[in-house]
């Protein structure tokens, strides 16, 4: 039966995606919920909570306020906190109950902005969708609201990295390695959306970059916006492995900015491999498996809300599902499954565990490999 998870976990949700994307930008983010969501987010989905101060709070919604539609408590408390803490912006996200009650978070945000003079956004999250949708909406809002500079040209060839959050990349060195990788290859990184950059750096970078590098499907919507506003092209992918990393750099520096296309030959000669992961990472990993290891029969299961076009091609069968029963069926004849360790419970053959913070939270954080560049090949070799 669909919807049943007998053995598996679930992905982080859309409202936590919003919180994660906005975490380092100096805003005041409020989850409109009773309680519990804040604790879940800050325990399992936010590895920066202990060390990097940020204002993410919960509204402590009550039954009577929900039923009676009493939004004034929420508005008053946010305005009071904003007055005291002077955030760069205010973001309000919703758990399932306000969504059921039809709470108009966008209207509430407008009212708060009018009262405080601080930019305010309401996100129509419902806690039912996966985190990528929330990150996507948050980055898109930031682009639309704060990227107001005129286009300018930097001296060096430059880029922004878009779609970086700990939910996909954790805090174990992948983002730092990625930046170094690009810098080493002559690409100046102006900003990283949204880890390690300020709101000002992101706005500046948006106007100045030659290209945007989208490293998760959550970054596509913001990159599309920046392409329309500034004419900045974007490329989607992560430099995973030896040959794919080189191809990726060549593609960017050669200004060939097509979205990655699966280039698997039709003549399949190797055993079946299935990757269950965030789609941009999954596709980049597939490129690595093909180019560095000659694996051609590689399929991707995308269990998230955003289904990017590059996975909808005819050369290789991919799957869009988060249903345990369907995933179990797809992987039953796979010779190798590459996924978060918590998927191992339904995998009975070879398994390569790449922990994904958005799935298993903090449990396996110390086991997340650095998958950027050539070094990843030696990690991957153990499975072949």
């Amino acid at each position: 039966m669909k919807r049943v998870s007998k053995k598996l976990s679930c992905y982080s949700s859309d409202l936590f995606g919003v919180c994660s994307a906005l975490y380092e930008l100096g805003g005041l983010t409020v989850i409109h919920d009773a309680s519990g969501c804040n604790s879940t987010y800050t325990t399992h989905d936010e590895p920066r909570w202990y060390d990097i101060p940020s204002m993410v709070y919960i509204s402590a919604l009550t039954e009577s306020d929900a039923v009676m539609g009493n939004d004034s408590k929420l508005i008053e408390e946010i305005c009071a906190a904003a007055k005291e803490t002077k955030p760069n912006f205010i973001a309000i996200t919703s758990s399932p109950l306000p969504m059921i009650m039809g709470t108009d978070l966008k209207g509430i945000a407008k009212l708060i902005e009018k009262r405080t003079g601080i930019p305010a956004f309401g996100f129509n999250t419902d806690g039912l969708k996966t985190y990528d949708k929330g990150i996507s909406d948050a980055l898109f809002k930031i682009a639309g609201r704060f990227c107001t500079r005129e286009k300018f040209k930097t001296e060096k060839f430059s880029a922004n990295i878009i779609g970086a959050t700990p939910l996909d990349f954790s805090i174990t060195g992948n983002i730092e390695t990625l930046k170094k990788f690009f810098e080493k290859n002559g690409i100046e990184i102006l900003s990283t959306w949204a880890m390690g950059s300020t709101l000002e750096e992101m706005a500046e970078g948006a106007a100045g970059a030659d290209v945007n590098i989208v490293i998760s499907a959550s970054g596509i919507k913001a990159a599309d916006y920046l392409k329309e506003k500034y004419g900045t092209p974007y490329v989607t992918g992560i430099p995973v492995g030896r040959k794919h990393s080189k191809d990726f750099i060549d593609m960017i520096k050669g200004r060939q900015y097509e979205a990655p296309v699966s280039i698997m030959p039709e003549n399949i000669t190797y055993g079946k491999t299935v990757i269950i992961a965030e789609p941009v990472f999954a596709e980049s990993l597939r490129q690595c498996l093909y180019k560095d290891f000659g694996k051609t029969n590689v399929h991707i299961i995308c269990p998230l809300s955003i289904h990017p076009d590059f996975l909808k091609n005819e050369t290789q069968e991919n799957f869009f599902t988060d249903e345990e029963c369907e995933i179990e069926e797809i992987i039953k004849d796979a010779d190798l499954v590459i996924a978060d360790p918590l998927y191992k419970k339904i995998c009975h053959k070879a398994f390569a565990a790449i922990p994904h913070e958005a799935y298993s939270g903090r449990i396996f954080r110390n086991e997340i490999p650095v998958f950027i560049g050539e070094a990843f090949c030696s990690w991957m070799e153990q499975f072949f």
Partner: protein, 447 residues
């Protein structure tokens, strides 16, 4: 990126300035990284051999499934995800019945107990859970089904924590009573065998049952044989009341206590209620109490001599009686400078007033107010040893000298105060890895 609120309005008051309750007005709430307190996901696992099924949105499920995964309890855990169209297109009752049926049909051996957790969504769409449980019982007659609640929005009548502690005992059924059998209910840690209650009950031939020590479901069910339920945390009151009405088990509230007169009062109460005749080698209860007092007094003197005027803070997650614990410390000249709490329980009100009247400079600091995000070690204490009792106090004060204690730690009576003194001494002498320890969810809950 955050502005410094230090000079502004931190959620901190001198106790003498507090004129009304709750201590701090409702506000946006902050979640501290100190995670030691148990949640419904952990408490429910106390029922031996039970299986948990949660039904809800992924934002609600994520916290509980990862709690189960972190504690190695995924073999007792499944979920049913709700998606937006399920709320429109589906009969929620059939959705739950079909999902639970599929999960149970997939188990190697049917569990004797299944806890089904509904979420706020079910109650707002008026899902008929009585029907659901009836149908499931028809299908799986050998299994006890208990409805449990992950409904934090509906906390007006009963807090989720209280509700969970009540439902822990919902599967107990009427059986013949045994007069010498007594239950300890509502705790997340088993009552320690060194506690006065345990010692005196055992000495007088009582069998003491506690869900925390039940090895299997059969042992758990035998808790229904007891004639009395003793509880010491206020959140177990609903459980005790329900069992009194449903199973005719009397209840006795013996709140966690640290001060001499209160412990003495409750020991006299239990001695009279249980008609105790034996007092661990002493002729009378008074003699037993006198000996315990002397022993504790000596320990207090010894610890005070060692730690001197070292500042101490207590938080509400360490004990259900922070003001009573604080009173013990202040009465014995310890330098208690701060208590972290958002509210004062009725049990603690007398002690709160006593501190207010006798030590008006004592500070009270909020725990969940949004401004807690900005709090840190008071400037005058930076670089000095501070002893925190409880994880939140340790985190807020950034001290490794702390007593790692959750919800009274299974302690009660003179032994509780004695062990508190030993733990304060240990915290003074030995640092702990506070950062790592406090981030572990539900301290002490492991498969």
């Amino acid at each position: 990126m955050l502005i410094n609120l230090r000079e502004q309005n931190l959620p901190l008051k001198k106790i003498s300035e507090i004129k009304s309750h709750p201590l701090f007005p409702p506000n946006l709430e902050y979640s501290s990284p100190a995670r030691g307190k148990w949640t419904i996901a952990h408490l429910s696992m106390l029922i031996p051999d039970s299986y948990q099924i949660y039904i809800g949105a992924i934002c609600c499920l994520r916290g509980v499934v990862l709690s189960a995964a972190e504690d190695g309890m995924m073999n007792r855990f499944s979920m049913i995800h709700i998606k937006d169209f399920d709320m429109i297109d589906t009969s929620m009752e059939n959705f739950v019945i079909d999902g639970v049926t599929e999960i149970l049909n997939g188990t190697e051996k049917l569990p004797p107990s299944v806890l089904i957790f509904t979420t706020c969504i079910h109650h707002f769409v008026a899902c008929d859970m009585k029907l659901v449980l009836r149908r499931l019982k028809e299908k799986f007659s050998g299994t006890d089904f208990t409805e449990c609640f992950m409904t934090p929005t509906m906390r007006k009548k009963m807090a989720p924590d209280d509700m969970m502690r009540k439902q822990l005992y919902a599967a107990l059924e009427p059986v013949d009573k045994k007069n010498n059998s007594v239950n300890i209910i509502g705790n997340c840690f088993a009552l320690k065998k060194t506690s006065d209650i345990f010692l005196l009950l055992k000495e007088n031939g009582f069998s003491v049952k506690d869900i925390c020590t039940c090895k299997n479901y059969h042992e758990y069910k035998r808790m229904a044989e007891s004639t009395l339920n003793i509880f010491s945390v206020p959140s177990a009151k609903a459980a005790a009341t329900e069992l009194e009405q449903r199973l005719n088990q009397e209840c006795l509230y013996l709140p966690a206590s640290y001060t001499f007169p209160e412990i003495e009062k409750y020991l006299n109460l239990i001695a009279a209620r249980m008609n105790l005749k034996n007092f661990c080698g002493f002729k009378t209860l008074s003699e037993y109490i006198e000996e315990k007092k002397n022993h504790l007094t000596e320990k207090i003197r010894e610890v005070k001599k060692t730690i001197g005027n070292t500042p101490i803070a207590i938080d509400i997650t360490a004990t259900t009686r922070p003001f009573n614990m604080g009173r013990l410390l202040l009465e014995n000249d310890f330098n208690l400078f701060r208590i972290y709490a958002d509210a004062v329980s009725p049990d603690d009100m007398e002690d709160f007033e006593w501190i207010k009247n006798n030590f008006p400079e004592t500070e009270v600091h909020a725990v969940t107010d949004y401004r807690c995000r900005f709090t840190s070690t008071p400037p005058e204490l930076c670089g000095k040893t501070i002893i925190a009792i409880g994880q939140k106090a340790a985190h807020f004060l950034n001290t490794d000298n702390f007593v790692n204690m959750i919800e009274n730690d299974g302690e009660w009576g003179f032994a509780a105060s004695f062990n508190l003194m030993e733990n304060i001494y240990d915290a003074f002498k030995n640092k702990k890895d506070m950062r790592s320890i406090v981030q572990i969810k539900a301290w002490g809950c492991m498969a």
